[in-house]
């Protein structure tokens, strides 16, 4: 026992009122599925069953697309931008009012620490709706012509790592531009999307503008291949992204994909070391590493390798892993058994390939899905753990000698979503940023998001941008 042991400080879950089962949100109402099929969503921290959720079949998806089409033709596309803006503002305000409830719900269903859902996810959700509310009546100034038209009905499939935030990234620009949507949340984290459906009702959003269909891969396939869809937006794995691209190729559907990453976090010898260590921690252990733009490859200049690693190890020993609802938890639960298995497998491969594995002493809870923060040193570009996306709290450490070598190694990956540069030298930051083939380059920070800043990838990390002026293009007929 240490001198100063923080007593448990759990956020109360009483604020969340879960229903026993949820229908599909179609045409402004919760309705049962046609086939009466359902699945259960659990808390990954305890494996407790939270609720039963309807599995949407092709007939349900068809109903949802029709409802969206109806709403698009008769209501939403006819509303002037300033009227659409009012709904978006209203949604943003309700999200802020329900911030605590949504944060608890997100942490319960996803396993992420309440500190993150409270301080990062939910405030960003509100910010995205506020930001796009501002665009709704100013689209003529976005640089896409005097009166850019919406596309129609958007089919959107989102991942489980930032459930409500990814929903906001998809729905806010779509609605601002005048489209209607059918959105499928991930099967392991449907609850905040369903809570969002209730928010749409509360905001008096015209029925059919937002439709939520829950389900797994089959439901997603039915949605993106549906002929009534004009636009497909997907965030998730590169593997599924390729499948979607193939499926959409013969159609006129506009497609944006935000896929995997294997970002390099590059630390130069003149970096502000203490802040760089924070940035490394935030880069890979934020959200248990379930972040597509995670800084999963640490490239550290050889001259400060020992010093940075020692500081990093010392810092990792202070990470607090455990109950996601405890306000002092830094690292929560892995989202699912399947993801845990994948992280374990790749970590074993890392060891087998000769990299040195290290984790701080840390007790894992018995129930639920857990993986300790893990650092691999002695990793080379040829190792699988340096090339494949692990999507977990696993950092691979590599070294470099010169800026040119850092660029070469950072770019030597099939992905290109993000990168980080740590140096006190401004000119080096600019030199690096112009050479790194990544959609986002952070300088002396990592994993910072803002609705005004476009986000998206190079190469196998996908195409199209989300956020900012650039993100509007995905939802306009241009």
């Amino acid at each position: 026992m240490g001198k100063f042991e923080y007593a448990p400080a759990p956020e109360s879950r009483d604020i969340v009122s879960l229903r026993e089962s949820y229908g599909l949100f179609i045409g402004g109402e919760f309705t049962p599925g046609v086939d009466d099929r359902a699945f259960k969503t659990i808390s990954p921290a305890t494996e407790e069953i939270l609720a039963e959720v309807t599995e949407a079949g092709p007939a349900d998806v068809d109903r949802a697309v029709s409802a969206a089409r109806q709403a698009y033709e008769h209501t939403w596309s006819r509303l002037p931008g300033k009227e659409r803006a009012k709904y978006l503002f209203r949604i943003a305000r309700i999200v802020q009012e329900k911030a605590r409830e949504l944060a608890v719900l997100e942490s319960l269903d996803n396993g992420k620490p309440i500190r993150e859902s409270r301080d990062v996810d939910i405030p960003l959700v509100a910010a995205h709706f506020f930001y796009h509310a501002g665009w709704a009546d100013k689209l003529e100034y976005a640089g896409y012509g005097p009166a850019p038209r919406p596309l129609g009905v958007a089919g959107q499939v989102i991942p489980w790592n930032f459930p409500l935030l990814m929903l906001a990234w998809k729905i806010a620009p779509a609605l601002a531009c005048g489209n209607t949507v059918v959105l499928k949340p991930a099967e392991t984290t449907p609850l905040t999307a369903l809570a969002f459906a209730e928010i749409c009702q509360q905001a008096d959003l015209p029925p059919g503008v937002v439709n939520i269909v829950t389900g797994a891969g089959e439901t997603g396939r039915a949605l993106v291949t549906h002929p009534g869809i004009d636009k497909v937006a997907f965030t998730g794995s590169t593997e599924v992204g390729k499948e979607i691209a193939r499926a959409c190729a013969p159609s006129r559907k506009k497609l944006t994909l935000e896929l995997g990453g294997k970002a390099a976090n590059i630390v130069f010898e003149d970096a502000p070391v203490d802040q760089a260590v924070e940035g490394i921690v935030n880069g890979i252990f934020f959200n248990q590493g379930h972040v597509c733009c995670a800084g999963s490859r640490l490239l550290v200049q050889e001259s400060v390798h020992a010093e940075v690693l020692a500081a990093l190890r010392r810092r990792l020993e202070t990470l607090r892993l455990g109950d996601p609802l405890d306000k002092n938890t830094d690292v929560g639960a892995i989202n699912s058994a399947a993801q845990l298995a994948k992280i374990r497998e790749l970590s074993e491969v890392g060891e087998a390939e000769g990299a040195q594995r290290w984790s701080p002493p840390c007790e894992l809870p018995v129930k639920g899905f857990w993986f300790p923060p893990t650092v691999f040193t002695g990793v080379s570009q040829a190792h699988r753990i340096a090339r494949e996306e692990i999507f977990g709290p696993v950092l691979s450490v590599l070294t470099f000698r010169t800026p040119a070598e850092a660029v070469e190694k950072a770019n030597n990956t099939p992905y290109g979503l993000s990168a980080g540069v740590w140096t006190e030298k401004g000119s080096l930051i600019l030199w690096m940023a112009s050479r790194l083939r990544a959609g986002v380059v952070w300088a002396n920070t990592f994993n910072k998001f803002d609705p005004a800043s476009p986000f998206g990838g190079y190469k196998e990390s996908g195409y199209g941008r989300e956020g900012g002026r650039h993100g509007l293009e995905a939802y306009l007929d241009v």
Partner: protein
């Protein structure tokens, strides 16, 4: 982060070779640690720890022997209604009142701290500063809080600052030396880190943020950088140096945030009045009020705690 430098040039080279501090990142880290939630048993421990780390301070032109005696009584027994409340670490006064505090605190275990070296500005000759220190020590101060020459530091005359600290250390004649950096005048966190190292290399027992006479006084990001400095200094030189944020810490909540900062930056070795102090005056009553609330479940009004 190697051996102390001997000349102005190598001292400058060393201090400017320390890793930089990114202000945005340091502030974000301090803000994140400030969001820790300290409850129940942890809070009970932390409130008592904070009380035991206070340098109960009065540094006013209007200070009198009577005021200092009252403060000493409070230092020895902060809560007359509850003998389990710990004593504070020290009473901090101007040199001419150190003898009063020394008389009152004799045998109590509460230390007598005196500011010196032409506190708070430090703008006088070295001879006068050293005489000030000797006067305080002769009057019974066993801890001396000196100020550095911020003018010399900002002008890059590091050697002068170094030599002054060394001279004061000698004049202390065994008294514990706390070196006040006056971070509100150094402004940048890079300067805070350099001044921290400079003071430690020159032999400081403690590094202290502020005089309390300049705004801003102690802040969480500044204290974070100083805690990193003492941690790194011990790793490089094997000698542990204490940290004392002072000025502007008024509530129990603030105090707990500082303790979290210590716990997760320098580590629990520093969670001890020998290595961490809080320079404050009104803070004590808020800690006592929270302490009573933990014990009784009720808040008492301010009149249930003594005004010193």
């Amino acid at each position: 982060m190697s051996a102390p430098a001997e000349t102005q040039a190598s001292l400058r080279g060393f201090l400017h070779g320390l890793p930089g501090v990114d202000r945005v990142g340091a502030e974000a880290r301090a803000a994140m640690l400030a969001s820790r939630s300290i409850k129940t048993t942890a809070k009970r421990w932390a409130l008592d720890a904070a009380i035991s780390m206070i340098d109960l301070t009065t540094l006013e032109g209007q200070d009198t022997p009577g005021k200092v005696r009252a403060l000493c009584a409070k230092a020895k027994r902060p809560d007359p209604a509850d003998p389990t409340a710990p004593m504070v670490a020290a009473v901090c006064v101007y040199p001419d009142l150190a003898h009063v505090a020394a008389g009152e605190l004799k045998g109590s275990g509460v230390h007598v701290a005196s500011v010196a070296t032409a506190f708070p500005s430090g703008r006088t000759s070295l001879d006068v500063k050293l005489a000030d220190v000797k006067y305080a020590v002769a009057a019974g101060a066993d801890e001396v809080d000196m100020v550095i020459d911020r003018g010399a530091f900002l002008a890059g005359r590091y050697q002068q600052v170094f030599d002054e600290i060394t001279a004061v250390r000698e004049a202390c004649d065994g008294a514990h030396l706390k070196v006040i950096l006056e971070t509100g005048e150094l402004v940048t966190l890079d300067n805070v880190r350099r001044a921290s190292w400079l003071a430690m290399l020159a032999g400081a027992d403690f590094i202290k943020t502020s005089t309390g006479k300049v705004t801003p006084a102690a802040t969480l990001p500044v204290t974070l950088v100083m805690l990193e400095a003492v941690r790194d200094f011990r790793e490089a030189h094997g000698r542990q140096v204490g940290v004392k944020p002072a000025g502007g810490i008024r509530t129990a909540k603030d105090a707990l945030r500082y303790l979290v900062l210590v716990n997760e930056t320098a580590g629990e070795d520093w969670l001890d009045p020998r290595w961490f102090r809080l320079g404050a005056s009104s803070l004590l009553n808020d800690l006592l009020m929270q302490r009573t609330k933990m014990a009784t479940g009720r808040y008492s009004g301010p009149d249930y705690f003594t005004l010193d």
